[in-house]
């Protein structure tokens, strides 16, 4: 089919009916500073693991807030917990504890993935 120079992006709509957003609430409960993240990307610029993969804290925060938990878990496993993002964050988000909390929550409530 001729595309006339146009193309259609795959559907990126978030299915809030099916996505489980309990993870975001649980993470905020464990680490309240998670809610302070404005997605500025300072963390992303410093990320050690991000040097090798597409991982970064901003992406994780977005996925968790959207309830795309399976992807979020796959992402946080790449983190080396080096703490650069923690030190760089201008909002004082305890990023390491957010990552650790996500891992801890998943190891306890695996049904969050689905």
């Amino acid at each position: 089919m001729k595309n006339f120079g146009f193309y259609i992006q795959p559907d990126s709509q978030i299915d809030f009916d099916n996505n489980n957003r309990n993870l975001a609430a649980l993470v905020s409960q464990r680490e309240p500073s998670f809610d302070w993240c404005i997605g500025c990307g300072t963390c992303t610029a410093t990320c050690t693991a991000g040097n090798f993969t597409g991982f970064n804290f901003r992406k994780v925060a977005l996925l968790v807030h959207r309830g795309e938990n399976e992807q979020a878990l796959q992402e946080v496993e790449k983190c080396m917990l080096c703490g650069k993002c923690n030190l760089a964050c201008p909002r004082g988000v305890n990023t390491r504890n957010v990552v650790a909390s996500i891992q801890k929550i998943f190891s306890r409530y695996q049904n969050l993935v689905y």
Binding site: T46, F52, T53, C82, R96, N97, K104
Partner: protein, 618 residues
């Protein structure tokens, strides 16, 4: 054999306590690993045992380490422990002198004055009476101080004392009762028989003047016996378990046993040796600066012993090691807490399979800046200038960012994941053929030194800078600056590097002393050890440290850790710099510019011979 029914509470208490202790100790000793048992066998008949006895005398009886914290506190513990010990020893000797029977029941020396109320007929009886009274007075002074401490802990150099649970309070009160009741029992007896020393005799005469002491003798000995019995039964279940267990710990430690990568029998013995004195509370900056009084080692160790550890308490610790440094029992609180963290986080080493085989470059020396140094570029730029000035043939291993050293993962309890990152780095380091590894980050330095088992020399940049000075490879100019040096936890208490940075700084500037330095230095608050600390608490710690470091108005606060530099800078009106930056400033003084290190010829470049190495993919 003399006997009375009132000796039963004491005797039963003693038998129960000894049986429980023997059962527990045999269980521990049996559960030790084969290597640990071997170490004990090898060292039991050696000087190690004598050293242990010396340490037991100095620490369990005299409490030398507590004296260093506060004189009153030290005296309180010494008078109770050493005083009671002398009472037991002297009481036994006295009873042996008096009685011709070779073996007496254990209660006989304890209740000697009841059975022999007028023992003036035997040799040295007056001397024994005097010393027994004197030691009783010493112990009673300790009891008075201990009671006072509950209400005026500041007098003992403690802002906060341990908040006790009912079991400990019960044992504590029974202990407080023992010696005043002994005084009463002996005094009433002396009051009737007209004997006794300067203490019991005087008190006896005093009571006899207005009380029917004759009828009070029996109840008072009963009360004394009951208080002893209750304390003995409570001992294995309370904090007083530390009294016998600390002695066992000292022996095992002298035989070379230490806490490993997992909490085991040895850590159990350490945990049971915690006296819950609470000295660690004030020394913890989370308490002193951030007013968090629930996570200190005393509470953590108690919860581990009671098998009720909370996740928050386990992770809310800076792992700075100050509590360990001040602990009178020298319990390895840091490794126990770190080991306790394993299991909370999933440890999937295969998650790092995204790492490509390591790339290495042939060089004489490797520079590993570390993640944190990449956030403080001034340090790495300074180090690069210094390497070039010293004409090093070096490879900047993490120039374009690199894999983390693994220690932050270890601190979070993810040992397997950390191992995976270490394998990656080890492969690159080995392939480079370098003979020296220099790092700017104490966190990396510690893990390279302790966990990587490299067969090349590992140096922190402070040590490397001193090496350059000692080998006359650089010439420094002394600057008109007053500086204070902040000992980073991982470099100082962690690796024992205290002298090298100070020696370097003395070549550069006027180094001021600060109150909290070396072993007792403060944590900057930015520790990667704490996963729970809130930003507000972190800021409180930072401000407190900066205030304490800048008491004497230094021109610069110097540190040797990129994380400390970044953390302290946030809260400090005084410039905070790394030692490498000061070093470079000193190199760049006009007087030194003529020196060969600043010749303008092109800097020696490392011959780029890149190697790709693979590593085991476990």
């Amino acid at each position: 054999m003399k006997f009375d029914l009132f000796v039963l509470p004491f005797t039963v208490g003693l038998v129960v306590m000894v049986a429980l202790l023997v059962f527990k100790y045999l269980k521990w000793l049996k559960a030790l690993s084969r290597e640990e048992k071997e170490k004990i066998k090898q060292n039991v008949f050696s000087f190690c045992s004598l050293k242990a006895l010396k340490e037991i005398f100095l620490e369990c009886l005299l409490h030398r380490r507590i004296f260093k914290v506060n004189l009153f506190l030290g005296f309180m513990h010494t008078s109770l422990a050493f005083g009671w010990f002398l009472l037991i020893v002297m009481g036994n000797v006295e009873s042996k002198f008096f009685s011709d029977v070779p073996l007496n029941p254990p209660y006989y020396p304890i209740f000697f004055r009841f059975f022999e109320p007028a023992p003036s007929a035997f040799t040295f009886s007056a001397g024994f009476t005097f010393f027994m009274d004197f030691f009783l007075l010493v112990v009673l002074s300790g009891v008075v101080l201990a009671f006072t401490k509950r209400f005026y802990s500041k007098m003992f150099g403690m802002k906060k004392t341990t908040v006790m649970k009912p079991g400990d309070k019960f044992a504590l009160i029974s202990l407080w009762f023992i010696f005043p009741l002994r005084l009463l029992a002996e005094s009433f007896t002396s009051g009737v028989y007209g004997h006794g020393g300067f203490l019991t005799g005087t008190v006896g005469r005093f009571f006899a003047s207005f009380l029917p002491v004759g009828s009070l003798i029996y109840p008072s000995w009963w009360a004394y016996s009951v208080s002893l019995g209750v304390f003995f039964v409570a001992l294995p279940f309370s904090r007083y378990m530390h009294i016998p267990t600390e002695a066992l710990l000292i022996f095992l430690r002298q035989y070379g046993l230490k806490n490993g990568k997992e909490n085991g029998v040895f850590s159990d013995i350490e945990i049971n040796s915690c006296p819950r004195c609470g000295i660690c509370i004030d020394k913890c900056q989370l308490a002193s600066a951030a007013h968090n009084y629930s996570v200190q080692s005393v509470y953590f160790l108690r919860s581990v012993r009671e098998k009720s550890v909370e996740e928050k308490v386990t992770f809310d610790c800076l792992l700075c090691g100050r509590c360990k440094e001040y602990c009178p029992v020298k319990i390895d609180t840091i490794s126990i807490r770190q080991n306790q963290r394993s299991g909370y986080l999933p440890d999937h080493a295969e998650a790092y399979n995204y790492l490509k085989p390591a790339r290495a470059q042939k060089a004489d020396m490797i520079y590993f800046a570390g993640c944190m140094t990449h956030l403080t570029p001034a340090i790495q730029h300074s180090m690069l200038k210094i390497f070039r000035a010293a004409r090093e043939n070096f490879w900047f291993m993490d120039e374009d960012g690199s894999v983390c050293c693994g220690r932050p993962l270890m601190m979070a309890g993810k040992a397997e994941s950390a191992k995976r990152l270490m394998e990656h780095n080890i492969a690159a380091i080995k392939a480079s053929g370098a003979k020296l590894l220099v790092t700017s980050c104490p966190i990396c330095y510690r893990v390279f030194r302790e966990e990587y088992h490299l067969d090349i020399k590992v140096m922190h940049h402070t040590q490397y800078l001193l090496k350059l000075i000692n080998e006359n490879r650089v010439q420094l100019s002394h600057q008109d600056l007053t500086v204070v040096y902040h000992d980073p936890c991982e470099l100082g208490r962690g690796c024992g590097v205290y002298e090298e940075p100070r020696a370097v700084l003395q070549n550069i500037a006027a180094l001021l002393k600060v109150k909290n330095e070396r072993d007792h230095s403060l944590c900057c608050g930015g520790s990667l050890g704490n996963l729970q600390i809130s930003t507000a608490q972190r800021t409180a710690v930072q401000k407190d440290v900066v205030a304490r470091l800048s008491v004497d108005h230094p021109d610069i606060i110097v540190t040797a850790c990129p994380s400390c530099k970044k953390t302290l800078n946030i809260a400090s009106p005084v410039p905070v710099k790394d030692i490498a930056e000061i070093f470079v400033q000193s190199l760049e003084q006009p007087a030194v510019l003529k020196h060969h290190v600043f010749e303008k010829e092109p800097l020696q470049k490392v011959k780029k011979e890149e190697i790709v190495v693979s590593y085991s993919n476990k």
